[in-house]
């Protein structure tokens, strides 16, 4: 009796998920198998059209590459930051965690528009660089991939730092001392002890940043502009500009599958390395 009652408690949530998540997803898959934008003739026409076009592959590759670049940038900046956090005093840690979480408290739209102000032709970066004489012409940062990666790196940074810090602060601090007492330099300790043991956090961070940056439609379009085309922009064009819903569905599923395959590969690596944590 009681056993039955317990799973019944999960029913409302399960129903909600089924109706607002699973059902639309299935409809999306269904819609993708229609040839015309009126959704009357079933067929593989849209899939053939999308997968037969070399331009599609370029967009897929660009989208994945954008994710990879953002992940690399957040790792390169985030990992040293996490190390700084780990060494800081409890009071400094509190300040740092506030600074890290703060971006999450602001809407993506606000953060994205802030980056326009920073990166624009007459923005902060260009003004400063021109005044100190590093450049004579303003740099083009908006509507370039570089500018997009810079802003995505800041926007997604909390997603890298939070899992990383949570895993790293569970590491035994004696381990670093033990390594030093055995004669290892700081770098050796970092690469042979701290990095391998913080792998689960690093993988979780990469996973979140990758999934989030490849699908960041607002940042991609506002900072990247219309000339940088990624899968989310393609979906928006097909569904809300051209009203070719079957093609939009095809692109959506492609995005979903590409992101999921990278994410599951990453989480497989993460699972393999997580066994050491509580050892």
């Amino acid at each position: 009796m009681r056993k039955a009652a317990e799973w019944q408690l999960a029913l409302p949530l399960a129903l909600a998920f089924a109706s607002i998540f699973l059902a639309p997803l299935l409809m999306l898959v269904g819609v993708s198998f229609f040839n015309d934008d009126k959704i009357t003739q079933p067929g593989f026409g849209q899939w053939a059209k999308f997968l037969g076009d070399p331009f599609s592959y370029k967009v897929i590759a660009d989208t994945m590459l954008l994710g990879v670049k953002t992940v690399c940038a957040t790792v390169l900046i985030g990992y040293p930051l996490a190390l700084v956090y780990l060494d800081a005093s409890p009071r400094v840690q509190k300040v740092l965690i506030f600074i890290i979480v703060m971006p999450l408290l602001l809407s993506v739209v606000v953060r994205t528009f802030a980056w326009i102000v920073v990166l624009g032709r007459e923005g902060v970066v260009n003004t400063v660089l021109m005044q100190i004489g590093v450049i004579s012409e303003p740099l083009r940062l908006l509507q370039t991939e570089l500018g997009l990666v810079i802003s995505l790196t800041q926007i997604e940074m909390p997603l890298m730092l939070l899992p990383l810090i949570s895993v790293m602060s569970r590491l035994d601090p004696n381990m670093r001392d033990a390594s030093a007492a055995l004669g290892a330099s700081r770098w050796r300790t970092l690469f042979t002890v701290i990095v391998p043991l913080s792998m689960p956090g690093l993988v979780a961070g990469c996973l979140l940043v990758f999934a989030s940056s490849t699908t960041a439609f607002i940042s991609q379009t506002v900072i990247g502009g219309v000339r940088l085309i990624y899968l989310p922009l393609l979906i928006w064009q097909q569904s809300l500009v051209v009203f070719n819903w079957p093609l939009a569905a095809v692109v959506s599923i492609t995005l979903l599958v590409s992101v999921l395959s990278v994410v599951s590969a990453l989480s497989y690596l993460g699972r393999r390395s997580s066994g050491y944590l509580h050892g």
Binding site: S179, L182, G183, A184, T192, L197, S273, Y276, L277, G279
Partner: protein, 361 residues
């Protein structure tokens, strides 16, 4: 290849460590002989672990020096001191096998090839874990993990071995086994060793000399027996073993002997230094095994109110209360016949060596 590292001397000179305003270690001086095992013993927060961490190079001192074989090591970072350390939680690298853990220090020192394998085998054999090379630390028991930690520290042939509460996490029986094992290893290798512990039995059984620490200072640095029999401060007296404290007053003096009138109602003649003048209030400290119960009154006996008697292994612990309200513990060996009733007088045994301390009134 059977190189036996000769024991080094370790000198700690006037060492002071500050954490903010607080003095964690306050002017500690210790001269440790080659091959000696010294226990730093004290309650938590007495500065013993901080002292160990300074020697290892993890904490920097505010003042004072540390010398190994006469050469100061204060300017060296931890990874250049060649000092082995075993932590309470062992701090094994959980992602490396037993063999990799042992090889870690060798690789960090640039040892390569067959030499590494030879030393792994040698030191795993030394700690009797030859068959566990490919296990991960979490697949080992606590005692085995500690052996790995020991092998890892010893494999680099350190000049000094530091043990930070290494037996605290082990259960009672295993603890004794490991204490014997560590002592045996230390003897074979002739390593100068410092052991931090809050467990006096452990310090007594493992160490050649004990430094009893309190509030950042060394209260007494001596052989275990001397510390037990001749505690130099009231703190050491109370911290080591169990003791009874009786209030009294010096009622007469005669050369090296003082007559002490106990508030409990007895007069005892005891050897005492000149510090204890006539009329000085004193505290008399007597170990429980140096007291005896008797049914016969006498000038050196005081009356007590007998309380509970508890059998404790081969011994019997009596509880008794003096007329001035002090609760005493008296230990005697358990005999076949039950003790006769009416034993209401307490006295010192013949071999009793009570200690006098000045008492502030």
């Amino acid at each position: 290849m059977q190189s036996t590292p000769a024991g080094r001397t370790l000198d700690v000179e006037d060492l002071t460590v500050r954490y903010g305003q607080a003095l964690a270690v306050d002017g500690v001086t210790l001269a440790i002989e080659p091959g000696e095992v010294v226990a730093l013993l004290g309650p938590s927060g007495c500065g013993k672990t901080t002292l160990l961490r300074v020697i290892a190079g993890f904490v920097r001192q505010a003042a004072g020096r540390v010398r190994v074989d006469g050469a100061p090591i204060d300017h060296l970072p931890a990874n250049q001191r060649n000092i082995g350390i075993v932590f309470q939680n062992y701090a094994l690298f959980p992602h490396m096998t037993v063999a990799e853990n042992v090889a870690y220090g060798l690789r960090a020192r640039g040892v390569r090839g067959p030499e590494v394998q030879a030393r792994i085998s040698r030191f795993l054999d030394v700690v009797q874990l030859g068959g566990f090379r490919e296990r991960l630390p979490r697949q080992l028991s606590g005692g085995q993990q500690q052996r790995v930690a020991l092998a890892r520290a010893l494999a680099v042939e350190p000049s000094i071995l530091l043990l930070d509460e290494p037996f605290a996490a082990l259960d009672r029986n295993l603890r004794l086994d490991m204490q014997i094992e560590v002592k045996r290893l230390q003897r074979t290798l002739g390593l100068t060793t410092i052991l931090v512990t809050h467990d006096q039995d452990e310090a007594m059984s493992v160490a050649d000399r004990i430094a009893v620490m309190n509030k950042g200072r060394v209260e007494q640095f001596d052989k275990p027996v001397a510390i037990y029999d001749r505690p130099q401060t009231l703190f050491v007296n109370g911290f080591i073993g169990t003791t009874n404290l009786l209030n009294g007053k010096v009622s007469a003096r005669e050369g090296g002997t003082a007559t002490v009138a106990l508030d409990a109602g007895a007069t005892l003649r005891l050897p005492a230094s000149a510090d204890f003048g006539l009329g000085a209030p004193v505290l008399l400290s007597v170990r429980p095994e140096q007291l005896a119960l008797s049914s016969v009154p006498g000038p050196e006996c005081w009356r007590v109110e007998p309380g509970l008697s508890l059998p404790l292994g081969a011994q019997l612990v009596h509880e008794a209360r003096t007329t001035d309200g002090v609760s005493l513990k008296i230990v005697e060996s358990r005999r076949a016949e039950p003790p006769s009733a009416g034993r209401v007088y307490c006295t010192l045994t013949d071999d009793a060596r009570p200690t006098l301390f000045p008492r502030s009134t």
